[in-house]
């Protein structure tokens, strides 16, 4: 059975070009970039190239790129590092719909004497900027708000938030793990201080990411040890990963316009057809400001895990905000923050596409989805015969 992969917000396939770029760095050019010999030094130069490739995608200087082990480490480094650099400030502002890499950390910090303000969102998933403005004060050490939401794809106006925080003289970090490679961003044209991105969300391998740190931003290192990354992140570089990430960034920069137009068309086709063919369903976060690849649809009266398993039988991979998929008993914190009723949150399915998806795959899913929904509703006590 062919796999139809609509779970690209979870992880993506490594691009062939990326894998090819990485291959020499396992068995042939395996030197340590910190070494004094030519064998290791050539690897260091290649990392420099990857730094340029990553900088070019997000419009910054290579010296502002810090390679990490991924999105979670980037988020932790940014938040903990900014707090450590401003010890007198005790407040963190974030949103209620952040990824756990940010939200769990902030809530843990709340147990250690920090005040955490979680900004809410409205029904469409848009951030309450008024509340953010009210919360900004001279005790605020950092504002950390994601660029695009991983569950719904809703985009937050980070450029505008960066202006607000800059005016208040507060450091602004954005988790852009879901948006980099999908939305163009130019860090020379805005005032974002720090930005996290993750390799495996843009067709690079897992285990590598970037923290962009604007020159002049005060940050205490999170990982201590050797002098790698100009002393800002100790630990021998994940050389193949970094080189892969560089190649993936270059590829993303090349493809971003055309691919996203195509991906958006496929997503829209899938979403429109599912809504038209399945009664009692709704799109969560359907506004115009949304990632081109993400569609989060709630199916009333049925449960997400059951839908996923039925999809799985046809080789279709998606994910759900249902409680049952995570082992917790509460459905998605993102959908609940948006005021999506419990009933709809339990039956939510996220389709997230990539440039490797085809129209045939979309058509196949459009054909199967109504059958699955109808079958599960036949079992449901909440649907009249």
């Amino acid at each position: 059975m062919k796999t139809i992969y609509f779970d690209n917000n979870a992880t993506t396939r490594v691009a062939e070009e990326v894998l090819e770029a990485m291959k020499p760095y396992f068995c042939d050019l395996y030197g340590n970039p910190s070494s004094m010999h030519t064998f290791g030094g050539q690897v260091g130069r290649k990392i420099g190239e990857a730094r340029e490739q990553a900088a070019s995608l997000i419009g910054c200087e290579p010296g502002e790129i810090l390679f990490t082990s991924g999105g979670t480490e980037s988020d932790n480094t940014a938040i903990r590092g900014a707090l450590a650099a401003a010890p007198r400030r005790r407040k963190i502002i974030t949103s209620r719909v952040e990824h756990p890499a940010v939200l769990t950390l902030c809530r843990e910090l709340a147990n250690h004497g920090y005040t955490v303000a979680e900004i809410g969102v409205d029904k469409s998933g848009s951030l309450d900027l008024g509340e953010l403005e009210n919360q900004l004060d001279d005790d605020t050490a950092i504002v950390t708000i994601m660029h695009a939401n991983n569950e719904t794809g809703v985009i937050f106006p980070v450029e505008k938030i960066a202006d607000m925080t800059a005016a208040a003289d507060v450091v602004f970090h954005t988790d852009a793990v879901q948006s980099v490679g999908k939305l163009p961003i130019n860090l020379k044209e805005n005032r974002i201080d720090m930005l996290s991105l993750s390799g495996h969300k843009l067709h690079a391998p897992k285990g590598v990411g970037v923290l962009y740190v604007r020159r002049g931003t005060r940050l205490r290192p999170f990982m201590l040890g050797g002098h790698q990354e100009s002393g800002k992140r100790a630990g021998t570089e994940n050389v193949p990963g970094i080189i892969g990430l560089g190649a993936a960034c270059e590829l993303a920069a090349k493809c971003i316009d055309t691919e996203n137009r195509r991906v958006r068309k496929l997503r829209d086709k899938l979403e429109k057809a599912v809504l038209a063919r399945c009664p009692d369903c709704r799109v969560n976060g359907s506004g115009r400001n949304r990632l081109p690849n993400t569609s989060n649809i709630s199916f009333e009266f049925i449960e997400g895990e059951a839908i996923l398993l039925m999809l799985d039988r046809y080789g279709i991979c998606a994910s759900s905000g249902s409680a049952c998929t995570s082992g917790s008993l509460e459905p998605s914190h993102v959908l609940r923050a948006m005021g999506v009723p419990f009933t709809a949150a339990h039956g939510s399915i996220r389709f997230s596409l990539s440039r490797y998806n085809t129209e045939q795959e979309v058509d196949y899913t459009i054909e199967k989805m109504p059958q699955i929904v109808a079958h599960l509703r036949e079992l449901s006590p909440f649907v009249a015969k």
Binding site: N111, G120, E303, L329, G339, F382
Partner: protein, 293 residues
Amino acid sequence: MWDYTEKVRDHFFNPRNVGEIADPDGVGEVGSLACGDALKLTFKLDDKGRIKDAKFKTFGCASAIATSSVLTEMIKGMTVEEAAKVTNKNIADYLGGLPEQKMHCSVMGREALEAAIENYRTGGKKKHELEGRIVCTCFGVTDREIERVVRENNLAEVEEVTNYCKAGGGCGGCREQIQQIIRRVRPTEAKKAPEPVRRREGRLTNIQKMQMVQQTISEQVRPALRAHGGDIELIDIEANKVIVALRGMCAQCRLANVTIKDLVQARLREFVAEDLVVEEHRESADRQHKHRT
């Protein structure tokens, strides 16, 4: 991904006995849309008092559907007395086991069966009623129900109870009560369970008291409120007066009826010192709570 047995997958993909019996002898309905799973079970007896037919309708995950399907198969041919003896463990065993976090599906099956039998025995008049005192207000689970899953499944930890009947899986505010129930039902086992911060003997220094108040709020109170979109901030401690500010509140929470202040005070008295008094911070109390549904 869940590791479901072949039997669970089979009953999920090919559910048996789906539907409702038109003129049933017993009807049992448990669960709700909000809780994430619900089951309606109907059965019909033959003239010898054996279950001739049973049908189900289920809203829920794969294991909830598989459990319902297999339950209808199991009880067919049983007398009502035999059916009344079916435990959640029997159902789970019949399926070749369920993942720990999914055991509550088998409990839901047994509850629906009990409700249907009760409905039959009272001549179709009585709908299933909760017996005992509600302990978990989030999922509406009573002390009797918790005692029963603890006894029938040899449970020793609060997390296990949550896996089996959901109690304690929402705001977490009842976890200590669940621990007490375990201790009562299985005194020898419960001793092994790790205990949270315990009150220290003798007088506390001010520093000890402050640290313990902060620790108790962080570990015992905040998670409970947070699960419902609320939060708590420790403003100050003056002698035996602990001043807190409450943030947010969950409109859908059934706990809203309980004054949070009482809950905080009870926890602090339990873990820190008997003579503590909790007060809500004036300025914060005047601010309106934000309700989000």
